[in-house]
């Protein structure tokens, strides 16, 4: 048996042109969350408690694509999802289609601990959240200006993505499109892709 270990992530697929200050912000958030997990482990919290604690912190910061700062649906709203699993006994809980639950990972944990099921979604999950008394906020809480801008670009990219001959004005997609086919992720130029 080795000692304890922890890892966190904030998404895969990063725009190579991401400004340095955004990179530094991301590093600081990852370091802060790692340190929260490390001190929890040193206080002998169980692995499942540490996982929930760290992900709540990541959900509350708008930098990454979860909780506050979530990617937006085509309608401009937020529909969040999460899952959690305890290796001891392979117990698990998952939720989808959340629109008002402040910390989706905690509702996933309650599905595991307080329901006879493994997965609840949309209105059923929201109803369960009310029953459990978890913190619930307006859908606006999750929506950031940055992501409203990204949604606009993503909509443009979907309609014009295959026509490099039409440069967009005033957006760096156009510069890149003009001189080289952009890196793609999930059908979107990486510059508008929000790491899922």
């Amino acid at each position: 048996m080795g000692g304890w270990a922890i890892a966190v992530h904030g998404g895969a697929g990063v725009d190579p042109n991401l400004p340095l200050e955004r990179q530094e912000e991301a590093r600081q958030l990852l370091t802060r969350c790692l340190n929260i997990g490390i001190s929890a482990l040193r206080s002998s919290l169980s692995p499942i408690d540490v996982v929930e604690l760290v992900i709540r912190e990541l959900e509350s910061d708008p930098l990454f694509n979860s909780g506050r700062g979530s990617a937006l649906t085509a309608k401009g709203t937020v529909e969040m999802e999460a899952s959690i699993m305890d290796g001891v006994g392979r117990r698990c809980g998952a939720v989808s289609g959340l629109t008002t639950v402040k910390n989706p990972i905690s509702l996933a944990r309650l599905v595991m601990d307080k329901s006879p099921h493994s997965y609840l979604a949309f209105s059923g999950a929201e109803e369960f959240a009310k029953q459990q008394g978890v913190e619930m906020v307006d859908n606006d809480y999750f929506i950031t200006e940055d992501n409203l801008g990204m949604l606009k670009l993503a909509k443009e990219a979907n309609s014009i993505i295959f026509d490099y001959r039409i440069p967009l004005t005033g957006s760096d997609i156009c510069e890149k499109a003009a001189d080289a086919p952009p890196l793609m992720m999930n059908g979107l130029p990486i510059s508008v892709y929000a790491q899922e």
């Binding site: 966190v8 590093r27 999802e81 959690i84 939720v95 989808s96």
Partner: protein
């Protein structure tokens, strides 16, 4: 997407993943993050959290596959993660994952352009990274 995996000093593992999904997604679209076995998995061998192109991760049942090749093929954690990232992401799917093992190992693997990640171990190792 954000995720966390932990193993304690007794070798007990846990994993979690949370996301807003894809920008401009259809309402009702479900990705890999809430799917046990695809975006998240934990057992007595390891714990895994995935991120990236959800549909590719679902097709590859990525998280469970890491545990499966450790259980059935006897691979170590690093080998298992490399195997899954190289073999299970078909159709050019781009993704990454973090994993710990009950032996206290911690690994990150990805085939995408970068991944926001960080890890630490009890013997004082700590690393935060974005690129390769």
């Amino acid at each position: 997407t954000v995720g966390c995996v932990v193993v304690d000093g007794q070798g007990r593992c846990a994993a979690g993943t949370s996301t807003g999904g894809l920008m401009n997604k259809m309402s009702g679209r479900i990705g890999d993050s809430p799917l046990i076995g695809s975006g998240t998995y934990a057992c007595d061998v390891c714990a895994v959290s995935c991120t990236g192109e959800g549909e590719a991760i679902i097709r590859g049942t990525l998280a469970r596959d890491v545990a499966a090749v450790m259980e059935y093929k006897g691979l170590g954690l690093q080998e298992a993660v490399d195997f899954v990232i190289e073999r299970r992401l078909d159709g050019g799917g781009q993704a990454g994952l973090i994993a710990v093992s009950s032996k206290g190992e911690v690994v990150c693997g990805f085939n995408s352009v970068g991944m926001f990640r960080g890890c630490a171990t009890e013997d004082g190792f700590m690393e935060v990274g974005i690129w390769d």
